[in-house]
């Protein structure tokens, strides 16, 4: 009895482990984006955040004992499906017009036996959504890195506080000519808070 509940608990934990891991990765990424001082670290955090979300979606589409979402055609499909395929092939040999006539029949035969019912396939929909997200992710990462290089060229640093100081200095310099010192102090002090 004791053992049984332990196993049940263990299975419950296993059933949640991927969701927990995706939550942890999401939090690590978001925390890095907010609190890291270095811009490249922020971008690594962004990428980790992104993979956390992708992990969540892929986990939602996973099935125990499922095949990868590529149909086994011609190997372990049912007999009638094979027959239908044969019929279609023969028809194709016989000529274009006959093929057109036979094609709907072949399709119908395959439909009737429901060839895909026996094998369990993983859910392809989350895979499609996440696949494009990864490629767009690298494009946005490239654009963000370009901005980092631009920031470095302009301010000589990729640390957030140093960049903010440099921005404050440059604004202070431009206003220093015709303002009193107190304004400058306020600008320098005020910017890191913002």
């Amino acid at each position: 009895m004791e053992l049984l509940t332990l196993t049940a608990q263990f299975e419950w934990i296993l059933g949640k482990s991927n969701y927990w891991a995706s939550t942890v990765l999401l939090l690590i990424g978001l925390h890095a984006m907010i609190s890291k001082n270095n811009l490249i670290k922020k971008l690594i955090g962004m990428s980790i955040f992104q993979t956390g979300i992708i992990l969540f979606y892929v986990s939602a589409g996973a099935k125990h004992g499922a095949q990868i979402p590529i149909v086994h055609y011609g190997h372990d499909s049912h007999e009638s499906h094979d027959k239908a395929a044969h019929a279609a092939e023969h028809a194709a040999d016989a000529g274009q017009q006959v093929a057109e006539a036979a094609a709907p029949a072949a399709n119908h035969a395959a439909d009737a036996t429901h060839t895909l019912g026996e094998t369990l396939y993983a859910n392809p929909l989350p895979h499609v959504l996440m696949l494009t997200a990864i490629v767009v992710g690298v494009a946005t990462l490239g654009l963000a890195l370009a901005m980092v290089q631009k920031v470095y060229a302009a301010y000589g640093s990729i640390e957030e506080d140093e960049v903010l100081d440099a921005i404050a200095d440059s604004t202070a310099d431009s206003t220093a000519d015709n303002t009193v010192d107190s304004t400058v102090d306020r600008t320098v002090k005020g910017t890191p808070e913002a």
């Binding site: 969701y19 609190s35 992990l55 125990h64 895909l116 859910n123």
Partner: protein
């Protein structure tokens, strides 16, 4: 799904994520992030998401790492300690506690991992893709048929996003004057990889053609195996990046110049969108390939299959060239000369 492997990978994932964010050396952080990507790609392959894993292996563990290293090379390698007070850190931790609590609490209501009867897996649309798409399109790889046919709009605009990112990089760090100078410099022909290591050079000379051939195979065979326009495009782009890394960027640009890259990238989108417009011209809706059986051989299902191949090729053009443009610009700070 093997739960032991799953658990070990999840633990290592969290550890590598933490390490890549803790390390002071940014080059090291980039490399650890590459390992992280590779681990997560194993995890996805274990869950049956082979196409996603393939893409991540090429993108995350390959191209992402290279462009991160390129940026570290041109900025600063070591990140300093935190000079500023950790007020932001405290606020962030508080936010993480709240958000983490809410998410972990919500995870109690999720269906167990791998449950075939969960709402996401039992949704009629997902069911239809599994049961009907092979009859509809005769494409065994369900991911390809959903990507290029049923959700063609989605993929078209994702491709446009990649193209726009390429333009954005040009706008952000492209240096027009240096580019003009480069055109003049290109006149004198430098020896291929004259300042490169002999072993690296010879290895890459052997690898690049095979890699390009494999990339074309991945695009062409995406109907029957994991792969398609995105994965093949990333691999093809990676072959040019490899060429630039081994033999110098100038050599790679001589084979695929930047202006040519953008022309080909635009071509890819024109192929994709033009095919959609062709469907409209024949009297159906945008990207409804079924109507094309009047001009493509083999019946309605085969027409959809062939159309997918063509739009995947368009995706391949755009992804290949834009990835190379991203690398070329990041590796040279937009000047397109010198390089890593």
């Amino acid at each position: 799904m093997i739960w032991q492997l799953d658990l070990i990978l999840l633990i290592f994932l969290v550890i590598t994520a933490l390490i890549s964010l803790r390390v002071r050396d940014l080059l090291g952080a980039s490399m650890v992030f590459g390992i992280y990507s590779f681990l997560i790609c194993l995890l996805w392959a274990g869950m049956g998401a082979v196409d996603v894993a393939f893409t991540e292996a090429a993108v995350g563990a390959g191209v992402s790492t290279v462009i991160l290293v390129a940026t570290v090379y041109h900025t600063r390698r070591v990140t300093g300690g935190h000079k500023r007070a950790s007020g932001m850190k405290l606020l962030s931790l508080l936010l993480m506690l709240v958000l983490g609590g809410v998410l972990l609490h919500a995870s109690g209501d999720f269906p167990a991992l791998g449950d075939p009867t969960s709402p996401a897996n039992n949704h009629p649309v997902a069911q239809y893709y599994i049961e009907g798409s092979y009859q509809d399109t005769k494409v065994p790889n369900l991911v390809t048929s959903v990507l290029a046919d049923y959700r063609g709009y989605d993929t078209l605009f994702e491709t446009v996003v990649v193209f726009v990112a390429g333009i954005g990089i040009l706008a952000v760090i492209g240096v027009p004057t240096a580019r003009m100078r480069r055109e003049e410099v290109c006149g004198d022909t430098a020896q291929f990889g004259e300042d490169s290591d002999l072993i690296i050079l010879q290895t890459c000379r052997l690898v690049v053609p095979v890699l390009q051939l494999f990339a074309l195979y991945v695009i062409a065979h995406g109907h029957h195996s994991p792969g398609g326009g995105f994965q093949g495009g990333v691999l093809f782009g990676a072959s040019y990046i490899l060429l630039a890394l081994s033999g110098g960027l100038r050599e790679a640009l001589r084979r695929l110049s930047e202006s040519m890259s953008f022309r080909l990238a635009a071509c890819g989108i024109v192929i994709y969108a033009g095919f959609g417009l062709l469907c409209m011209a024949l009297g159906s809706s945008f990207l409804d390939y079924a109507i094309l059986d009047s001009i493509l051989p083999g019946g309605v299902a085969k027409a959809r299959s062939h159309s997918m191949l063509i739009v995947e090729a368009g995706v391949g053009f755009t992804v290949t060239t834009i990835l190379f443009v991203i690398y070329a610009n990041l590796a040279t700070r937009g000047k397109l000369e010198g390089g890593l």
